[in-house]
Point group: C2
Chain length 432, copies 2
């Protein structure tokens, strides 16, 4: 019966005279003058193996050992196995593309992404995806607790909801379809179908050519949509509750992962304290802050403005999160609900210098939808599915989406969101 | 403050003199000679509204009402609202494509799928997706409890893992990629990356041309992969535990949904009693059973064999589930682990007459992988990612995938799995 690395200490305490079996990867080998140490790594952590003979082993090979568990304060985790027998289950090649147990900064991002099978073995990189799994768990659990239903919608669509450009084309039998940029239309449809409150965790695609630390062409979108809201302020309150729950669960389940990145998550009070600032005020504030530090004038919420606004929120409101609402109509898609002639009931959430969420109330009136189409160069005859959504009784509603990789990256302080995607896709990368 | 339909009875009991507000869709209108009844539907259920005047309303319009809650044994749910004011929030068109509150059998599958926004408003169809959401929740929760990590992997791949055909091609900037048929390679990679136990809930794509009640071209694959297994029997035990948990949670959370379909889920004892039968024995048994009822001879596990084997399991083992293992090598992909010259450590799970799972142990030896490639007309130089998976220490491992739509359909007894997909894609359908 296999014992995980983290449980060897318990075995050493309870039954030091009973042999245990352990399996995993060879993380490190040390010859300490006659005594040979192997650090064995499994999904739970690491344990030291003590061998009498120098093992014939390559790093990263998978082995199975048997031996007596023993307490040892100097060993990682406080225990070791005095090995009586060892079996090599799967030998690793002698040459590794980079040093798994070494300093990742030396490997470089491209090597790390080219060799996911090896790079995720590094505990610090493994930690990224532990945190990411908790985010998905917490997102789903919180929304279920608020009476939301999880939906799964098609990623093959007849056209884009965010405008016709930036779509990947798919050869679908004898016609062309596109990869969905977002489940926008579908999640609205499901609200209006009577589900009222829905969420989806699924890939989304943007055929954007730019290669920046904040973009990938395939990402996981954490989508939320709810009916019977008054304005975007209802959505901001929902996102506060959601982020509070996500941060709390990450703190609870991933404390060791956070330590590896020297990271922490905001407390509930900090999320509650996050300011809401209107777009015009936000641009003016960012521009003033930029001028004070000798920077350029700022005309919209660009990456520099996101950084400055988060810095401001931290200094003035003790929060690393800020909501910007009342975006101008010209910056938002046709389905956004206007609050007056120029502004909309929409918002972005900025966290630690990066936009992690876009959302807002949507148009639910068929007449208003028909009226607004020419403004967006859209034709009713091409919008029949959207028309159907609004023709048969659609409640006031709205929603938002959180980019999973962006949120993961901002929690851990990763400079590039590609690091928070197991198999990122960018303009050049489609493998592995 | 809005009160949900299901809570009106409580309001009527506790504070019948305080007005409540309710919102939702107009499900039915009845004029009972002077007294007018409207059945209001929201996400929680239905409540009867009593109006003094005949309302000017189309069915399926979204309304908001205020009034006093009152107990009424004759009303659905045991309570009603005596309406003092009503507001039409979003009027529905007078003509509906089909009768939402009527018998669905009259509408027909194509109409139901063409009009998802309306068809999901029918409580019986809504029930399908309530059950589906619970399946996803239970799948994820059970695997987390068994120390599995949720992963999200790319759906844009450089080639197919299941053979080169039946792939949808995507125009990806200046090259072609394909929609993933399964996360097979990625989940194996993540096991070998040290995660050991992973699961994924994500779309999968098959460019198969056939249009049958058991196929769709885009489906949700519930994928599982785990390291350090001995054989497919470990996987079958895992799936027993998983299905037991899924059935139990559906039973707990969706009892009303099951009633609408006159459906029930197998008890834990029935899942435990599910037989495991070798492929050759299974084919022979199916053929014998077919002969007994005057049917044709059976040469492999075809749909008729699946039906007969499930019938046999029910009669002989009091289980609607049966596992068929030891599939011949010729029927399984290159990565399948052979148990002898002709057979593999692989299995299918059949449930209520339909294959819902394929799985098995995978090859983890690089040498065996290289040796087997010619047998499958594969060339090592085209398989470098797979080679890397096996070159750097890969534990014995295996996994399986459950088709979400198939499992949903079999739980509820839906004749066509398209009914269990919100927006199914088949050869002809790409909209809505």
């Amino acid at each position: 019966m296999r014992v995980l690395a983290k449980n060897i200490i318990e075995a050493a305490r309870k039954s030091p005279d009973t042999e245990v079996e352990a399996s995993g990867w060879v993380h490190r080998i040390r010859d300490m003058g006659g005594v040979n140490f192997v650090i064995l790594r499994d999904r739970s952590g690491m344990v030291q193996l003590v061998l009498n003979e120098k093992p014939e082993l390559n790093l990263e090979s998978v082995i199975k050992v048997k031996g007596l568990p023993a307490l040892n304060e100097k060993a990682p985790g406080g225990a070791e196995i005095r090995v009586s027998s060892m079996e090599i289950i799967s030998p690793a090649a002698a040459e590794l593309p980079f040093q798994v147990n070494g300093d990742l900064a030396k490997a470089g991002l491209e090597t790390i992404l080219d060799n996911r099978i090896l790079s995720v073995r590094n505990p610090k990189i493994h930690a990224i995806f532990n945190v990411q799994a908790t985010i998905v768990e917490a997102f789903s659990a919180y929304l279920r607790s608020q009476d939301f239903t999880e939906i799964k919608t098609s990623k093959l669509v007849w056209g884009g909801t965010e405008g016709g450009t930036e779509l990947f084309e798919v050869e679908y039998f004898d016609r062309k379809v596109y990869l969905a940029q977002s489940p926008q239309f579908y999640k609205e449809t499901m609200v209006a179908s009577g589900m009222e409150r829905v969420f989806e965790v699924a890939p989304a695609y943007r055929a954007e050519k730019h290669d920046t630390p904040r973009h990938i062409n395939e990402y996981i979108s954490l989508d939320v949509e709810m009916g019977f809201i008054e304005s975007e302020l209802d959505l901001i309150e929902l996102e506060r509750g959601l982020l509070t729950h996500i941060f709390a669960l990450v703190n609870e389940k991933n404390s060791a992962d956070l330590v590896l990145w020297n990271a922490s998550v905001p407390a509930a009070e900090a999320v509650a304290a996050a300011p809401v600032i209107g777009y015009e005020d936000a641009v003016k504030l960012a521009s003033d802050l930029s001028a004070k530090s000798g920077g350029a004038k700022i005309f919209d919420i660009n990456p520099e403005a996101e950084r400055l606004l988060c810095e401001w929120a931290k200094n003035e409101h003790a929060s690393e999160l800020v909501f910007v609402n009342e975006f101008p109509r010209r910056y938002r898609p046709f389905y956004t609900y206007p609050s007056d002639a120029n502004r909309t009931m929409s918002f972005d959430a900025l966290f630690r210098g990066l936009e992690i969420t876009t959302g807002g109330r949507r148009q639910h009136s068929y007449e208003a939808f028909v009226e607004v189409l020419p403004r967006f160069n859209l034709k009713l005859e091409n919008m029949q599915n959207y028309a159907a959504l609004l023709q048969y009784g659609c409640p006031p509603h709205g929603g938002f989406a959180i980019g999973l990789e962006r949120l993961t990256a901002r929690i851990l302080g990763l400079p590039n969101i590609k690091e928070a995607s197991l198999f990122p896709r960018d303009r050049k990368r489609v493998s592995p």
